[in-house]
């Protein structure tokens, strides 16, 4: 009875119903286009506000760019995750990378490692393997010889977390 009534109603306002459906479809499509944008921006802000990143920068401004952190988007085993950090720098005595810090957003020890480089490195290009205690954001921050700080961050899904498996 109710169903019939609804059908009758939609038949009567067939034009409006189709219009509404089209509008809904359009709004969903529009939302699906804009949705991936805000988490990226939010993620960028979160990385710049990470307390361990702030502590490393000692109050200086941390900017995005110049640093490229490469790691897989998904890791089956959090006990060894390969990553690489490349910083865009001439590595000259006047302008070089002094320190690269690796910061975790979720590990019990968030300061994973610091690498001290200099003009003798020739390139600012390091690679290592880290432990990750669960899905999280990993950040690489570079301190330059001019006192500026640059950051890149990477979200990673970790299927089997490090630090939990006691049989290892």
């Amino acid at each position: 009875m109710k169903r019939e009534g609804m059908n009758a109603g939609s038949d009567m306002k067939h034009g409006n119903g189709a219009d509404l459906a089209r509008r809904r479809l359009l709004s969903v499509l529009a939302a699906s286009l804009t949705w991936p944008l805000w988490p990226r921006q939010a993620e960028a802000q979160l990385s710049l506000l990470d307390p361990n990143v702030l502590a490393f920068a000692r109050g200086a401004e941390v900017r995005r760019g110049r640093v490229r952190l490469t790691m897989p988007p998904l890791a089956d085993n959090g006990n060894t995750v390969s990553l690489r950090v490349v910083v865009d720098s001439p590595m000259s005595p006047q302008d070089h990378v002094k320190v690269i810090a690796l910061v975790s957003s979720r590990n019990p020890e968030p300061n994973i490692a610091r690498f001290y480089l200099g003009p003798r490195a020739g390139r600012a290009d390091i690679a290592t393997r880290v432990r990750l205690a669960g899905s999280q954001r990993v950040m690489a921050v570079a301190e330059m010889s001019d006192g500026s700080f640059w950051l890149d961050s990477h979200e990673i899904v970790v299927t089997m977390s490090a630090c939990l498996d006691e049989s290892l």
């Binding site: 690796l102 994973i112 610091r114 690498f115 003798r120 490195a121 290592t128 880290v130 490090a162």
Partner: protein, 106 residues
Amino acid sequence: MAARIQLPAQARRGEVIEIRLLVQHPMETGYRYDEGGQPIARNVIRTLSCRYAGEEVFRAEMSQGIAANPYLQFTTVALESGDIEFSWVDDEGVAGSERQRLVVTG
């Protein structure tokens, strides 16, 4: 503590060479327990440095966040023939070192 080093035997002057280093070490996190339920003390390599002809060209300060058997890859500029030395020390005070000669031509 054994380590495996990969670097070219010789290089041209001014060339940027890649150094790869793998140290055998458990990098014990300090979060695990033994069969008796006693916590296993943390034991990780804190500092690892690389000296080229006596001068430090690279240093890593590490934590338990670095995977067991730490692997490090970095670069240096070939300036003169000399030893490239690696030295490290862990939380228990056990030190290790390795060296390899680099011949620079041209």
